[in-house]
Subunit: 657 residues, 2 copies
Amino acid sequence: MLLSSSSSMDQIQSASSLLRYLDGELWEIKDALREEISKCELFQSSSYELTLDQNRDLTADRLHHILRLPLMKGHLKDQVKEKQKGFIAKSLSITELICSADMATGVKVGVVCALYGGAVSNLGSSEQKEKWYLPVSELEFTGMFAMTERGHGSNVRGILTEARYNPSTQEFIIHTPSKDAQKMYIGNAMKGNVAAVFAQLIINGESRGPHCFIVPIRDQNGVMWPGVSVIDMKHKEGLHGVDNGILIFDHVRIPRENLLSKFGFVAADGRYSSPIPSKQSRFNAMLAALTPTRLCLTVQAMAAMKLGLIIAVRYSHSRRQFGPKDQDEVKIIEHQTQNLRLMPHLAAALALTFTTRYAADLMDDALYHGRDLQSNRSLQALVAGLKAYSTWQNLACLQDCRECTGGMGFMMENRIPSLKCDSDVFVTFEGDNMVMLQVVVRELLTQYTKQMGNNLVMGLLRNWSSSASDSLRTSFLSFTVDKVGDLTFLLKAVRYRERVLQRSLASRLHSKVEKNKEEFFMAWNSCLHHVTTLATAHIHRVTLEQFALAVQECPVGDDRALLNKFCLLHGTSLVYQERGWYLEHNYLTANASRQIRSQLLEFCRLVKDDALKVVADFNIPSCCIQAPIAGVANPRAEWAFYAQPQYPGGTQPQSKL
Amino acid sequence: MLLSSSSSMDQIQSASSLLRYLDGELWEIKDALREEISKCELFQSSSYELTLDQNRDLTADRLHHILRLPLMKGHLKDQVKEKQKGFIAKSLSITELICSADMATGVKVGVVCALYGGAVSNLGSSEQKEKWYLPVSELEFTGMFAMTERGHGSNVRGILTEARYNPSTQEFIIHTPSKDAQKMYIGNAMKGNVAAVFAQLIINGESRGPHCFIVPIRDQNGVMWPGVSVIDMKHKEGLHGVDNGILIFDHVRIPRENLLSKFGFVAADGRYSSPIPSKQSRFNAMLAALTPTRLCLTVQAMAAMKLGLIIAVRYSHSRRQFGPKDQDEVKIIEHQTQNLRLMPHLAAALALTFTTRYAADLMDDALYHGRDLQSNRSLQALVAGLKAYSTWQNLACLQDCRECTGGMGFMMENRIPSLKCDSDVFVTFEGDNMVMLQVVVRELLTQYTKQMGNNLVMGLLRNWSSSASDSLRTSFLSFTVDKVGDLTFLLKAVRYRERVLQRSLASRLHSKVEKNKEEFFMAWNSCLHHVTTLATAHIHRVTLEQFALAVQECPVGDDRALLNKFCLLHGTSLVYQERGWYLEHNYLTANASRQIRSQLLEFCRLVKDDALKVVADFNIPSCCIQAPIAGVANPRAEWAFYAQPQYPGGTQPQSKL
């Protein structure tokens, strides 16, 4: 059904087995979307001379085009159903492809469908979903998501916006009581029609905690709803097509029915009821319902990484510079530092591909079985950790791609600059990465404390003794140095690191809080470096494990061998980065540590030619790659064109798009 | 003389002793320029809605305004004199301030004065300087610098542009023989009038190596010189005001007198003469004459770093987020990870301030005494190393500043995004950083080999034995762990690292090239990671030494104490970054390594409040800071305003500008 045209059939027939493995089960949807994007004029590379308004209009047109696609319409209708099967995985596939085409459009789709749509479909009743979200799929209006306030970016629990119930008119009065309560950075604020606004519900002067309300912002003609005002935040480093603004509410009256009522309901007479009695748990449940959207950030970052890598790897295989005396210059990918800079990012992009798929499947499974996401500690830790790791990894990757392509990488026509600028905000929005890492550890420690029977001291002691043998077993003494290249060694190393960091953090916190009676925030803050280190170790471990599993499960021998090399590289790179820590803990000998370094250099050299196949098998349409230095001609910048390098072996798998 | 107005007098009277120490001996020139910039309408923050052409026009206006200043005119006239005293230091002071005001203007001034001007004044005769450079100070025309070619960015020796001498007309025929020979990324290409073009001089079919020629590009009315064509490269990640283009020469005829003749002269009949017989040494001398301009990049990067730090430090001291239960939220600078991310950059900015001053003084001294810069190996290594270290350090710093200011740091009005985008290219232009690091090591090894009497083997052995005791002396065994906080310990550590890396590299290269007869390029390439590591260790060591000296020489006790804390932080941060290496070499015990980490956290906490004073004493005018989150109001973005935090102690040293 999705494969209507013959050209997409062609493409599928020519797809390599690795391409198909990387695409995963949803390859048909992806192929259909690839074709839609490739044939749509709106997604061809646009001028860099657009004004802010023109950029926003173009992005709005792209958004509408995407929402109008039958495949997207169907998907949005699925969103409001209970027990959707594989909804998250499908959403992520769609998000990644749209972001490959244009990051701003991807973010706008995210605002309208994942954030606004997520709020309505997760926090609303069936009638509310029908009224406030289904019309989006018919382009009747678009929504925005208003949680962040000036005073509280990352600390959402402290939001100040008020929603007072007035029983006489059966209305809520939405109000911004202070400057700090202004809703800030709101995407779609200059174009959207309604907002899902988080505010403190107040009934008879009593606060019931944060709830989500549908507030009309402007009608189809742009006329503002009484009492609502908006400030345009205008120019940003990137995402120029996304209209961010500040929303201010001056006693805005909305009907009682506009409170999204799944976790809290107000009767006409003002009686409040909720399936969750505790204010704290109720808010957690609301936030948890929104966690799937956090995973979107990870695929958005992956889309940018993959594009950067395609461009940098291809150019590094065509551009020549320096070389042996009286001989041709060598391809710059041959320079040791060049492949050392690029190959670990390529390995990380693969690791993220498999880890994100794993997280999506876990989440889909939980949603399908109606399980509570909030109490799934390891899933919460994984999603928060993935968000932080992938978005930082993306920035590091794009920066290396930019530098490894020299002056060409600084030119807008070669796409890398806008990818950098557009995705830079990912590290601080939708949960600042530093906060995300703290979420990871909060989840890990809660899980840990529960395992230990809620008694941290006893738990710690019991845990130490039960794992003393394990600590010995994994110590460096039991390894001969020739084993550092084994995946088993690498996996044990990253697991050991996480375990030790977790145990020592729990013990430090315990002695600060329980023994020395330090205030919790102060104690936590004095361990913040330890906390973020543990969170990183956790997510490193999961990515390596998931990559290793994906290698195991890969059905084609050649692909498996290729992926295995990248998996070893990923593990080596993770251990190399932290060799100081491993040496401090006598987990690596000085010799083993040196060997890890040689191994890293050697793996990077080994995979540099395979890299061409991998980036081809990311299967990103030419119209999304755009960069002339990656072999995509552009009449506007003929001077930047470098023909695509030939793949070793000569079986150049050309995408039809 | 420079202090004409009363407001600058006021400012000077209120200047703190630290401010004066950081400004250095040239504070009067700097103050004069600060005042000029502050009172000039052109340098007030401009719209983000400008088109490319409008941006370029504004930058041209700013360039002309700067060139018209009496202080600048005088400086340019000094440039063509022999034996200028303190010319480099003064150039760097001027460059840093212009870059603080606007990076694109700073780069354009650099192209016209340092690159084009440097070429003419260093490679030309007195008549040529008078004819081709003095008119620039009268705004009669501007120049550009055409060295880089499409085929050879970093590998300049291989340039392909030809300059054939035609004795019958006494002309050179400048020609672009192939696509790879096109002059690329040329700044001022769309607006400049003449170019200093590097081309292979060919006389009677014989090549004399690269020389520099003055080639007219377009007249004052924009009419192109016959045979010259130019392609506009248009949009870049940043530096939108700099017009980069591609120059192509189709048998362009220029008079014989247009060969800059200091290092090579062609008589009317085609006889060639040069004070330097070897082609290779001649080209090296030409390049060496241009090394002062490389130091400009370092101060450009410093200007960006300091701006980023002012903004991030001030905001971190006013913004509050999270905190102990039932108490006010804390300033975000109190978050351990926040001060851990920002403070080491502030320490590095101070280290760079003193190290750049040292390099400038060395260079001024050499130039004043007419000494050859090229043979000054340690100076060449220092300048190349500083370029790479400072420009990377700047990007890392700005990225942390951007992330530490959250969503606000992503908004253009808060200045950090454009600083990032403008200075991103510094790491690859004017010598790619990876190439710069190789230059450092080439210079170090040449020096080393010379010291050892040109016999690498004997040298290595002799050196090993002579320093065996030293190696023992500096090993960890002789330190008790309570000393890792001493500056002596930190200095010894960075020196030890450089020495060991140098020795081991020399030994590896020797065994590859001499024993195993590997081709040199291939051997070098297989050691490239080692090479870049050594280069970084070298420049780390120099910055710590210069910082330590500057602390010693600081005349005021309080300032000395404050600087000393930052110096210790800088050293601790350098050793912490490389603790893996120190552990591998048993230079640090596991315990000492852990102590280095605690020390790093502790120093960052200790200096976080001093940071406010330091950034104030960078003494950057408000009109250059621009950011509302740093307390500089902007009617265009009132929503972003945060009042400046108060300095502890209450003696807020307000700049008048």
